[in-house]
């Protein structure tokens, strides 16, 4: 790290963080009506008896992230990476422990706010508003977003409903909308690396740009190469626990040994 000499300013502090999901009606065994009834009758007793299953996704994770760091999150599927990101963003309430942040961390992604039945044009506006941009900001960046997505390269597609797009085109537009905003603490989930080779290159470049503007970046990825390229520190999660936390090379070496690569 180049800025080792300057004072380290923490931007995100996780303190013994626990996240628990509750899933209704997932009791093992039959999902019959009588089972559901007995669940209601047993209301007073604990969650397990009522057929509410708890999934303990993050178990006591603590770390401090500093300004200027790019932190990779690795671990096998279901190890709690995405959940941890959402908890840092304050989108998932913590069961125990706390996350302290500098400003409002944002997750890169607007998929959920977009509607397939609306035109690309209206989705750009809706997505921008959902991310908290003002109408003026969106108007200003509208053309950039459309150009970046490349949607209009093959004709005037932006005025068609999004359900008529190919999956690649839709993914490109979604990324372009999501990446249009600048963030203090930025979190990127791997699922965003979509589109053809040309677009992937363009989006990698955009992510690097965002990194420069943001104070701290978190990146979830299964691609060790992209972690090496972008991150200087790695958190390794396994079964919701922080297994290792350190400089990229050190952690990745252990991780590769663990996954048997």
């Amino acid at each position: 790290m180049a800025e080792q000499q300057t004072e380290l300013v923490p931007t995100v502090i996780a303190d013994e963080l626990h996240i628990v999901y509750r899933v209704n009606g997932a009791k093992t065994g039959k999902g019959s009506a009588t089972a559901a009834l007995s669940r209601i009758v047993k209301r007073g007793s604990d969650d397990a008896a009522r057929g509410v299953r708890k999934v303990h996704a993050v178990r006591g994770v603590s770390f401090v992230a500093y300004r200027g760091e790019a932190i990779g999150l690795i671990g096998s599927n279901g190890s709690g990476k995405s959940t941890l990101l959402r908890a840092i963003a304050g989108l998932l309430p913590a069961e125990k422990g706390k996350v302290y942040t500098d400003g409002q961390p944002s997750l890169l992604g607007v998929n959920a706010a977009l509607m397939n039945d609306l035109t690309g044009e209206r989705n750009v506006i809706l997505g921008g508003l959902a991310m908290g941009m003002s109408r003026e900001e969106i108007k200003e960046r509208y053309q950039d977003i459309v150009d970046f997505s490349g949607i209009n390269e093959k004709g005037d597609f932006i005025t068609l409903p999004m359900r008529t797009y190919s999956s690649g085109m839709a993914a490109r537009l979604r990324f372009s909308i999501a990446a249009a905003k600048d963030h203090d603490v930025l979190m990127i989930d791997e699922a965003l690396a979509t589109g053809d080779r040309k677009f992937q290159k363009r989006s990698e470049e955009r992510i690097r740009e965002l990194r420069k503007e943001a104070g701290t970046v978190f990146l979830v990825s299964h691609n060790n190469k992209s972690i090496r390229d972008t991150c200087n520190r790695v958190l390794w999660l396994e079964r919701g626990e922080l297994r290792m936390d350190g400089p990229t090379e050190e952690v990745l070496k252990e991780y590769e040994k663990f996954t048997g690569k």
């Binding site: 899933v23 770390f63 409002q104």
Partner: protein, 298 residues
């Protein structure tokens, strides 16, 4: 474990956070701050409601025409059942009864659909709640706003029906504006309450249609409460007449229909309408805000 050397070794997280002015992520803001944030999102709330409204009929061939056709068909069905077959128009001449019925159906549907949308406002949009940051009250408010816009389309039909049965536009039609405003406040408050309840117990989405239907039949949508309940104890009629749905329906009928005079309204009806609206809007908002940091848990 090989955490990088930290200059803050040993300092507890809470003190470290305080030292650098970090705040708890996802903590519930104060009520004033919450209102301010919500106001900052007003464009999103409006755009989201309009988007939902448009998306509703975007696959249909007739497209947005359904906004008007759907309430028209609704009114026709109710007229056929209650006006022609059951003859529920007791005590009212036909040119009053038909606008009376159509007004009732539309005004009640406004409340009914706001409640139903409210129940699913959080539980049906978990993806959105878990992906982006915004005051969660945006969702139920946006859904009631969508229903208000839907009602405005219905009002076109309603105006046509009223005029068709001899109630022409006059000054009293201006009263529609405050009635709609008060009902919108009431509906939004109710939607906020249902949104919180529905996020904890999604089963309410299955239960509410029955509750709403009971409420509809008890509110005099298709009959006049005082006439139907003649001979029953007075307090029964009072309770039914003072319920918010009946009050908003009666006020709207009073505003629109020439032959429906103030003798049909309970005493202090405007105070009651304002009271219900204020009670639910403020109460519902505070109730919803109290659980703000907990929405989004599975």
């Amino acid at each position: 474990m090989s955490a990088p050397p930290s200059p803050h070794e040993g300092l507890p997280a809470r003190q470290l956070a305080a030292k650098y002015g970090l705040s708890v992520s996802g903590a519930r803001p104060g009520l004033g701050e919450y209102v301010r944030q919500l106001w900052g999102r007003r464009h999103f709330i409006l755009a989201f409601s309009q988007a939902k409204l448009t998306a509703q009929y975007s696959q249909a061939k007739l497209g947005q025409l359904w906004q008007v056709v759907t309430p028209l068909l609704n009114a026709a069905v109710y007229f056929f059942i209650f006006g022609v077959i059951l003859e529920a128009d007791r005590g009212m001449p036909r040119e009053v009864y038909i606008p009376f019925l159509v007004t009732g159906v539309f005004v009640f549907t406004f409340t009914q659909s706001s409640v139903m949308a409210g129940v699913r406002a959080i539980s049906g949009n978990l993806g959105l709640v878990r992906a982006l940051h915004f005051p969660r009250a945006s969702l139920p408010i946006s859904f009631s706003l969508q229903q208000l816009q839907q009602l405005l389309f219905s009002m076109v039909v309603l105006f046509a029906v009223s005029a068709g049965f001899g109630s022409y536009p006059d000054l009293s039609w201006l009263l529609i504006v405050p009635v709609l405003a008060l009902q919108f406040l009431f509906n939004t408050g109710l939607a906020l309450i249902m949104a919180r309840a529905g996020s904890k117990t999604p089963d309410l989405a299955q239960l509410m249609p029955f509750v709403m239907r009971t409420w509809m039949y008890a509110s005099g949508v298709m009959f006049s409460i005082p006439i139907m309940l003649e001979g029953k104890p007075q307090w029964v009629a009072n309770v039914l007449q003072w319920n918010p749905a009946a009050i908003f329906m009666d006020l709207m009928r009073f505003a629109l229909i020439d032959g429906y005079g103030s003798e049909n309204l309970p005493d202090h009806v405007w105070a009651a309408a304002g009271g219900w609206a204020a009670l639910f809007a403020v109460g519902g908002f505070v109730y919803f805000w109290k659980a703000e940091e907990r929405y989004g848990r599975g």
